[in-house]
Point group: C2
Chain length 277, copies 2
DNA sequence: TTGTTTTGTCCCGATATATGAGATAGGTGT
DNA sequence: ACACCTATCTCATATATCGGGACAAAACAA
């Protein structure tokens, strides 16, 4: 049985998370404030699965009394909820705060420092973009330190199938969606189209590796390395790319850039609440 | 200017929240643990707008040193983030926790106790439902204590336009959407249709009041009072209704039930992170 | 430039505060 | 009936928190 999903609201009602065996969680650095840190440990100990008081006490290595005091304080304020027969679980306040956080955390500002670091370390032009109306919309651009300037501006929309950034936005799509998008963008494509077959073959490799290349496809003599940015749901919500003219972008250098770009994309993802990999 | 919204991901990038004058926040009950409570106060103090150390110190009436220790502890763990020139703002960890909370909090379980209380206090049948494929899908049902049984089951799908529960699911829709849904469901409707005009007139009243009635429209001799349930975004994600045969549902009694049903719906909404009204 | 007022960060003694052992009460299952 | 599980409460101890104050750096004004 598939999950019930309200077609209009998009809210999903999942079955209660299973009560698997929870690994002993190593409490984080008690930096600064023990009590506060323990309280946060408590919240995070319940992320995977609800737990009773003594379970939490064992996991965190804290006295039951202390756990009780902290947990009830958290429950009083809605950060946890004591469910009868289930123990403590995450509370509704966290939904509210998560929503508030999403309003405050905006992608361009969060990404900026990471993009600057990437630009400094590579010397090339760096782009940030999102999917918008079946195009890659550029939200930020940093010119590299090379002589040559890459001709692109914030606010411009570029093709999805022919740019490194655009391809990264599509890495999680199904092959059916790839076909649909490719057709919409190029006007051709299909099982019999050799150009499409080659493109899909490339995309499979990119999807498996979590990065993407642009080999002078969109603009002559311009090559890019792209990587996707994910939010707290794991969904791809944006992408970055490093671009330069072909003379600075040998195959070897591009292969080496993959790790760098992926690492930056991962850091931005984590700043958006992503907790994967 | 409208906000950029990725058509595929649905993620919205809002401009940074304005730095309005923030009212002095009265710290909640320091029940149990002062340190932990203050830490949580700190988080909640930056929900509306980012704030500097001394701003927070003033607002909460806590020494700057203490605020600094707590705030850096929170920042270390991602609950807050110190943005240069902006002060402290909500951190990415809250996105992660909000997402985890959404997986744990499932509507039927959260709603159950409230529905039971409502059923006990009214004596009538109580339903919980969501929008699913242009119908109202019943997720839970409690039979009342009356002799007569309302014939409906969990898992059934009922019309949107002719039930109290269904109408409540539609309260936030635009009039254009109302027309569309009404047409799809009844096969008629339009500016010239007197039945549709009357229906829309009723819906306007319901939308303004935040409740809905079913006056023997769906099933003969059955009347209902419905109210919408909202999540942390304020969106209507479900609805409840109280149903009984007409002999127990005088106009006066229905008018009186509005407050009761709305109150229950509000309580469930708050358990889903809603912070409105 | 210089002076003024922010910002975040750090230190350290006094004491308020969190801690944890243990006891209690209410369930649940055998 | 029992044993064993919850969550909750009390209280003496000492520890971790508190807050005054000092600091460097940055932002701002003159």
């Amino acid at each position: 049985m598939d999950n019930l999903k309200s077609s209009r609201t998009g809210m999903i009602f999942l079955p209660p998370a299973g009560r698997g065996v929870a690994a002993k969680v190593e409490p984080r650095s008690a930096a600064g404030s023990q009590t506060l840190s323990r309280g946060l440990d408590l919240i995070e100990a319940v992320v995977q699965t609800p737990a009773t008081l003594s379970e939490l006490s064992k996991r965190l290595g804290i006295n039951r009394s202390t756990v009780h005091r902290l947990a009830s304080a958290l429950a009083d304020r809605g950060y946890l909820k004591l469910e009868a027969g289930e123990g403590y679980m995450l509370g509704a306040k966290l939904l509210e705060l998560g929503h508030a956080a999403r309003r405050q955390i905006n992608l361009p500002r969060v990404a900026r420092p990471h993009l600057e670091a990437l630009c400094d370390s590579t010397g090339d032009a760096v782009h940030l973009g999102v999917l918008y109306e079946d195009k890659a919309l550029y939200l930020d651009k940093l010119s590299g330190t090379r002589r040559v300037e890459i001709g692109s501006r914030v606010g411009e929309r570029h093709p999805l199938c022919a740019t490194g950034l655009g391809k990264s936005l599509l890495l999680d799509c199904s092959e059916m969606e790839w076909l649909e998008i490719y057709r919409a963008e190029t006007g051709h494509g299909g099982a019999a189209d050799p150009a499409y077959a080659a493109w899909v073959e490339q995309m499979r490799g990119y999807a498996a590796g979590g990065y993407s290349f642009d080999l002078e496809e969109n603009e002559d003599r311009v090559r890019c390395v792209g990587a996707p940015i994910r939010d707290e749901t794991g969904e791809i919500v944006a992408a970055i790319s490093v671009s330069s003219v072909a003379q600075y972008m040998s195959d070897d250098r591009m292969a080496g850039l993959v790790a760098t770009v992926s690492s930056t994309a991962g850091a931005i993802s984590r700043a958006l609440g992503w907790s994967g990999r």
